[in-house]
């Protein structure tokens, strides 16, 4: 049963303005769009997908269904989407940085930059340097000094080797010419708990993980040139003048390679509209994240630049 609403017509109009040959796009979407999230329900990327799904009402006249396909560090879901029918009804939303890194370090045919079409970026996850509240380290410089005084004596926690937190941490160590032993934990929650319990001297974890834990943890710096748009109180490596590797994780929607350009453009326009809605920002705010929209071409350029930055760091990691 096809339900043509006024809003549906609006979407079609937007699609018309974006694309010259809009006949196909005007016909899309006719049935629910499956948005594959290659991680478990309840995670950071999943939250973005669910927020998109909730805020899509009124923008797209079909529901956006979130499908979780976890496993193999996000490659399981990517594998299922890369071979899906390119009709615009199966797309993937993933943490771009983790996805890029796992295709670089794991033995897979998928190329993060080439195997899919970039639809749009809707969010940004950044890693940050944190210490327990009772830690003697008050600034990033304290950490660097301690590591230089006793090379290899410090322990740092992250949420798994090959992830963007780990590579971000490696970039910080390499660029500042210091050594420290990493201790991998499974996922963001356990890493945060381990750091609160002082199982490590410092850690690299998502800056949004600080939300609600300000009394237990101290974020010394966020791993980027400028401050995060939501966690505004945390200084950035860039402003502190401390060298770092520009590794982050843009939350990107990908479509199978052969999806018609009109459909991709229509989805891009819809995502632009959805991520500008206040409901979307509200749904994300409690998690310490927010909307960061970029069109498909810009998202691809960003990820390409990150690949160049990360390549020397992941060289030693397994293939």
């Amino acid at each position: 049963m096809k339900r043509r609403t006024l809003i549906g017509a609006v979407v079609a109009t937007i699609a018309l303005t974006v694309s010259a040959t809009a006949s196909l796009a005007a016909d899309w979407p006719k049935r629910p769009i499956n948005l594959v999230v290659p991680y478990k329900a309840g995670g950071g990327t999943d939250a973005y997908a669910r927020a998109i799904s909730a805020a899509a009402e009124g923008v797209l006249d079909v529901p956006v269904v979130v499908v979780n396909k976890p496993g193999s560090g996000g490659l399981n879901g990517a594998n299922s989407v890369v071979g899906a029918r390119p009709d615009g009804y199966t797309m993937m939303m993933t943490s771009g940085g983790s996805f890029l890194l796992s295709t670089m370090t794991r033995d897979t045919k998928i190329d993060a930059l080439e195997s899919f079409q970039f639809v749009a970026q809707v969010g940004q996850l950044r890693t940050s340097l944190m210490v327990p509240k009772d830690s003697p380290f008050q600034s990033v410089q304290d950490v660097i000094d301690a590591a230089k005084a006793n090379p290899g004596s410090l322990r740092w926690a992250h949420s798994g080797r090959g992830g963007f937190h780990h590579v971000g941490g490696l970039g910080f160590l390499a660029n500042n010419d210091i050594e420290a032993q990493d201790v991998p934990f499974k996922g963001g929650g356990p890493t945060r708990a381990a750091l609160i319990g002082s199982q490590a001297d410092f850690g690299f974890l998502g800056v949004q993980q600080l939300a609600g834990f300000e009394e237990q943890l101290r974020a010394l710096a966020v791993n980027s040139q400028d401050r995060d748009t939501i966690m505004k109180d945390v200084p950035a490596f860039g402003e502190l003048g401390i060298p770092f590797a520009a590794v982050s994780s843009p939350v990107i929607v990908f479509a199978p390679k052969d999806t018609p350009a009109e459909v991709v453009a229509a989805m891009e326009a819809a995502l632009a509209e959805i991520s500008a809605k206040p409901e979307f920002a509200e749904l994300l705010a409690s998690r310490g994240t927010g909307p960061v929209y970029q069109n498909g071409a810009d998202a691809k350029a960003g990820l390409t630049a990150m690949k160049a930055d990360a390549a020397p760091l992941v060289e030693g990691l397994s293939k």
Binding site: K69, T108, P184, K186, A193
Partner: protein, 503 residues
Amino acid sequence: MEIFPAMLSVITDPTLLFAIVLAAAVGMIVGATPGLTASAAIAMLLPITFYMPPLFALAFLYVIGKSGRYGGSIAAILFNTPGTAASAATQIDGYPLARAGKAGKAMKVATISSIIGDLMGDILLVVGVGFIAAIALKLGPPETFAIYFAAFVVIGSVIGSSITKGLASAILGILIAMIGLDPISSEERYTFGSFDLSNGIGLVPLMIGVFVLGEVFAQMESRRKATGDVEENESEGDGNSLTWDEYKPCLPHALRGGFIGAGIGVLPGLGSAIAAFISYGEGKRRAKNPEKWGKGALEGVAAPESANNAVSGPSMAPLLTLGIPGSTIGAILLGVFLIHGIQVGPTLFLTDKELVYQLFACGMLGILAYGFIGYFGATQVAKLILKIPTNVLYPLIFLTAFVASYSARGSMFDVTVMTVAGFGGWLMRKYDFKIAACVISFVLAKGAEETFRQSLLMSDGGALIFVERPVALGFLLLGVVAIALRVRGIMKERKLQGGLGDA
């Protein structure tokens, strides 16, 4: 005591009460249906709850999780299919009881024990939520490893009479657990270049394979030998009723299981399957009739059932205060909190205290609801199922094994794993290897390896870290003492047997 006003406000809200009863029924049905799990049901119902008020949504999903865990025992007893990973220990004694026509009795024991365990866990949660969170924080990798070590030793009692075959089965389980990504370096191990194997072997398909398919194969073989002699599930007149005298010996096992489960629940990540097996192993070790365990002892149902339900309550403490989910259901609940704009963390009890205690109250009412439905409803179901002749029931079980292994993760590869594990399970039965020991080692090995290697990274490869940290040392000593006691026990047994000749 914030729980009492919270309880009052929940009881006086009829729509909320209705939601709790509905959730209890839904959870039981999905838990009891092989192929559906509570976590899958929660994930499916999650989008609906976006449109509900927060308490309503959370209570609905939380109670489904609780009663689903209980519902798993029904499938374990009736079909020998673990409805959830947690009920694998229940089927060891539950299924033999069902075969002996005592399914109703077993299900009533499971129901009562679940209620006892679940309530014990919830009471601990309500009384000591802050305290539990503090403990969870203090336990780093060395402490967690020491707990895994002690758990390994305690459940060693399910290894059985042949130590060599028991150990071989355990090692097999450990080897299977090694398949996939290395927990520390993320390198691939034993994957032979296969992408599917790099994801590791799933617990659900493995269990369904060795327990269910293996059993079906074994039954097929034994039936062909006994030509034409069709084994019927005979139903005794008193098979479905339960008297106080029958439950009395189960009570200490249920209580001990409750303590074990609640203790395990405090530690994020260990999970209810481990709690159930530890409780089963510890119960068997202390039982007055250990020879009956595994062949249909009611106590063998009580011990694991109360333990796996007792995990539910305390595991909410690390979830709510530290944001560490102890299970899939926990991870989804975490998402629900955040979707409704409630910030999980140490400040939750300052900002949303009322909501949290109301949720706990809903949980307790949910336990009573599923207990009531289960105690009176399950027997009827059991009667119905037992009317089905075995030549219809076995093909049905065979079919559900395939559906169940596929639907858990929507993966055809899992069906392959299940089939291979089925043949493995059949061979292990045939040559008297211990399937339970294999599965438990599989469950424990991953976490034990991860925490062991994390500890060594923390200490620069030095083993002293396990001795220097008092909590870790304590659990290691506990394990060593348990080994010593077991060795002494075996020596005594040998002597006794020697004296009696080859009796």
